[in-house]
Amino acid sequence: MENFEERLGRYRLAEPTDGYKERVLSGIHARRPNRLGPWVWSMAALLLLSISLNIYQLGVAGSGSRSLEPRVADTQHRGVRVIQVQNVYVPGELNRPDVKAREYF
């Protein structure tokens, strides 16, 4: 048994010479966490949020039915002048009969 072990014990696994170290080191350097990462992601998220809000506001402003501006229509109906006012909120007075009378002539 001793002879067998001694014979095998003369041999060693050589250090790999096929770029093993360089490859692992390049992997370590490539994957090292970037300290600027969180800042970059935060700024990107803020930019995205800003763009989304702008698009939303443009959509709201461009849609007539959703316009937040009061709309006034001044027309003639069978010889009677009719003025319609929309998008005007009068707190507490919406259900009063005289509101309609005031809003629609």
Partner: protein, 162 residues
């Protein structure tokens, strides 16, 4: 801990990491892949382990085992790396044939016996080092080694190769 701790750890233990992986995979490409993947995963981990060295060895072993999963046999190509310490050159044809038979015989051992033999016999690692890496008692490691070397020798004697 210093931000370059993974790099420093690798530079200090690169050969042993490689040996540990090679003892499991038996193939240099897979062993290198296992070490590479383990080091990259350490770099990407958000926290530093309490015992980085032990953690790194465990990580290398786990990667090597994962890469070896699904392969039918322990494919031995380690004879390419064996050099005679005394002569520091490629072994003579007769010795090369003997080593080839040894590497073939390794396939018939249990994974634990094979890994222990490769690390101790060809890697030059002490039983204590292997026990610490494997987190197994020293007695178990020496037992695996003795049984492994015995089985390997018996196989070669039986085949008339030794």
């Amino acid at each position: 801990m210093h931000p370059n701790w993974v790099e420093n750890l690798f530079l200090e233990h690169s050969r042993k990491f490689y040996l540990v992986a090679l003892g499991i995979t038996g193939q240099r490409e897979l062993a290198a892949d296992a070490v590479h993947d383990a080091m990259v995963s350490l770099v990407r981990s958000r926290s530093t382990p309490d015992d980085p060295t032990a953690y790194a060895y465990r990580s290398v072993r786990n990667r090597a085992i994962r890469l070896s999963t699904g392969r039918d046999r322990f494919v031995v190509s380690i004879e390419e790396f064996l050099v005679d310490d005394a002569e520091s050159e490629a072994p003579q044809p007769e010795e090369a044939a003997f080593l080839h038979e040894v590497c073939q015989g390794l396939e018939d051992l249990s994974p634990d016996q094979r890994e222990t033999l490769v690390l101790h016999l060809f890697g030059g690692m002490t039983f204590r080092e292997i026990a610490e890496i494997r987190e197994i008692s020293l007695n178990t490691i020496t037992s695996w080694y003795r049984r492994g070397i015995g089985a390997l020798r018996r196989g070669l004697v039986h085949d008339g190769k030794f």
